[in-house]
Symmetry: C2
Subunit: 407 residues, 2 copies
């Protein structure tokens, strides 16, 4: 079993790195705060005697090359340590630190793996500062050219490649330099399913499709007091109609489709001026690709009608688009078996969130292990998983990895 | 008649002062750009041999003290030279520069007034940087203590009193130091009424009530991918419902009520996080006070229902509230008569915009003169009034002022 005290203490320590003036955890990809988090992770990897490698997109790898099996394709355990704005401490970090913990525990227990074991921390999984999300693993899996990713411009106008160089994490390894034999990711569920079902371990068998768009509506700025309602081309009102449409449609549908408008801005953004422009994001998800396409089409149709009715022009821009992913059945079964052997309840489930596993699944068999999120809360400082569940999940990861590295 | 070339050239010159990097006219109250505009106005006042005075709230006065009538209560002509963001060149400036022009023309024509004539430029009429709007004239009329106004914190975190001192326009005169005998304000209509009616001059007999509120909705931040629609407390969605409610209600009502949401922000404002907070402004107007109160009450009721239905909390904060104003009938008649004598068509009308005249009407008989705004466009760089209409309006002002200053 893993060293629970060491794991929990590292989660606690990493969670203190990157607090802003209001004590919020904000460790956005390639920021100064991210550098501090990366530095802590690298020092722990070195403490565990791992070889540390960084690739061109800034992904960090801690490699245990069992000497007899140096040339074999490795088992990779991974997740990310970048966070959203005002984040909880578990999202991503739990998976990376558990991977490190698993390697350290196996090693000190004298386990002899049949192939190297690697723990990876992928760059910019959250997609808050740079889009798309899961960028480091997407590049690693060959789904996005590294040059294109490095050229991404952030919400703050920065360029990812420059920021990585500035914080000292523009590595020299070519993304994909280690082709994994298998990949496992342990993560908090970030949703309410496990807690509601009273189940300790999720054996994640698939992950829903994700569609991100940015919508820009152009109307006509005019005076709020003198312009009759009938003569307005109000970009802000049109935006409100889209937000309501998406939410009402998703909420009234029997499908698991989810729709969210998380970002918005108006121009000129003055109390007595009708907005000339509204820009906002749409996050649409569904486990079924056909249904996700149907939702995108319904939105597109609605925008056409709305533009005509409100005398506005509407442009959409693709930010990210990932089809649903089915994970490797054999690894999912290993997760179930490991849980059972430890006396833990488990259930198969879908991931609502995007994860690095969905990208790495393009280049090797992959699966995920979930533990409960109390109240289903994530991307929020109140994100919480009880210690017993955190330790149980890490032990299931240990068992799955030792199985995969025994063959 | 006034000197059309001089007036039009000053409007043109003042409109070039305060252009930002994108060539937008942004001369927000008490900004560096406003300082440059004020300096130009003061130099023109001095050129016209007027005594210049500045009061504690930064209102600028150009005073022509006809020597025989120094102690009489003056005729005041006024408006403002601060602008909105990305403004047109006429709003406010046209009234101030016409006032200056009228005094200069009367003087050089040898007119001997029965009382002093003053042209005033009031501080922060637009209310974009500091609230409430019409602040300088409100303070001047005794409707807001000067200390309170000077302590206002702007949208950029600045304090008005400090900004006025910084730009050199924190004067020493007590607001209200000149009690006017009568007040007249010439302004572009900023709405479509005169152009649609094909009429050259508006004799403004009243001004609608204005209600500004800031609404803050608090929901719960959560993950956009993992949180089922039924478990959300989405502050952004709730805001969209309010925006739609206001617009749909106003648009479907037979009354002239107008409702606008001009400003908005979400927190944490990330593509994959359900907004925990939405803050936006509401601008509600109606010429009838009972109806305006009914609209405010309807909004308040809607917010109560919405908070319960969406599991959010909603707080409202008053930004500004002005009851409708009826202007002085005798001055309105002078406007009509002056237009008629010049062979100009005129009509009585309501002002949709707030104006300094509505504040000064608290301390003396007041009225306004409107000229057409092409397409009803204002608070927009495409704001436009043909030169002939600008000149006609200034001549009507000349006639009204000379009448008022003859008695
Ligand atoms: N796990 C996680 O929060 N990933 C961020 C990408 C997403 O929005 O699902
Ligand atoms: N005239 C004008 O635009 N005033 C600003 C105050 C308002 O919003 O009506």
């Amino acid at each position: 079993s893993i060293d629970a005290v060491r794991l929990l203490s590292r989660i606690e320590q990493l969670g203190q790195i990157g607090r802003d003036g209001e004590d919020r955890l904000v460790r956005l990809a390639a920021s100064d705060a991210d550098k501090s988090g990366r530095d802590a992770l690298v020092s722990w990897m070195k403490e565990a005697d791992l070889e540390v490698a960084v690739d061109r997109i800034g992904n960090i790898f801690g490699i245990w090359r069992a000497s007899s099996a140096e040339d074999q394709a490795p088992i990779m355990i991974g997740s990310h340590i970048d966070t959203v704005i005002d984040a909880g401490v578990y999202d991503g970090c739990y998976g990376v630190l558990s991977g490190l913990e698993v390697i350290q525990s196996l090693r000190s227990a004298g386990f002899v793996p049949s192939r190297p074991i690697v723990v990876a921390a992928f760059t910019n999984e959250e997609g808050v500062r740079y889009t798309p999300d899961m960028m480091g693993s997407l590049v690693y899996a060959g789904g996005l050219p590294v040059e294109e990713a490095l050229a991404s411009v952030g919400t703050d106008g920065t360029v990812l490649g420059e920021e990585l160089a500035r914080i000292g994490y523009a590595g020299s390894k070519e993304p994909g330099f280690l082709k994994p034999h298998a990949y496992v990711e342990l993560h908090i569920e970030q949703g309410p399913v496990l807690e509601k079902a009273g189940v300790q371990v999720g054996a994640v068998e698939n992950l829903q499709g994700i569609s991100w768009q940015r919508i820009t509506i152009e109307g006509v700025a005019n005076h709020a007091g003198t312009t009759p309602m009938s003569l307005r081309a109000d970009a802000g009102y049109a935006a409100s109609r889209v937000i309501s449409f998406l939410r009402d449609r998703a909420a009234s549908s029997p499908t698991p489709t989810v729709a969210t408008v998380g970002c918005i801005s108006f121009e000129p953004n003055a109390v007595n001026i009708i907005p000339s422009r509204a820009v906002f994001t749409v996050d649409l998800r569904d486990p079924n690709e056909d249904r996700l396409q149907a939702e995108e089409a319904a939105l597109a149709d609605f925008l056409i009608e709305l533009a005509a009715a409100e005398k506005v022009t509407i442009a959409t821009e693709r930010m990210a688009r990932f089809t649903p992913v089915t994970f490797d059945r054999a690894i999912v079964k290993l997760v179930e078996a490991a849980a059972e052997q430890r006396g833990l309840s488990s259930m198969r489930m879908t991931s609502g969130a995007g994860h690095d596993a969905q990208m790495i699944a393009r280049i090797c068999p992959a699966a995920m292990i979930f533990v409960p999120s109390i109240g289903g809360i994530s991307h929020n400082p109140r994100e919480f998983t009880p210690e017993a569940d955190l330790v149980a999940g890490a032990n299931v990861l240990l068992d799955v990895v030792s199985q995969l590295a025994s063959k």
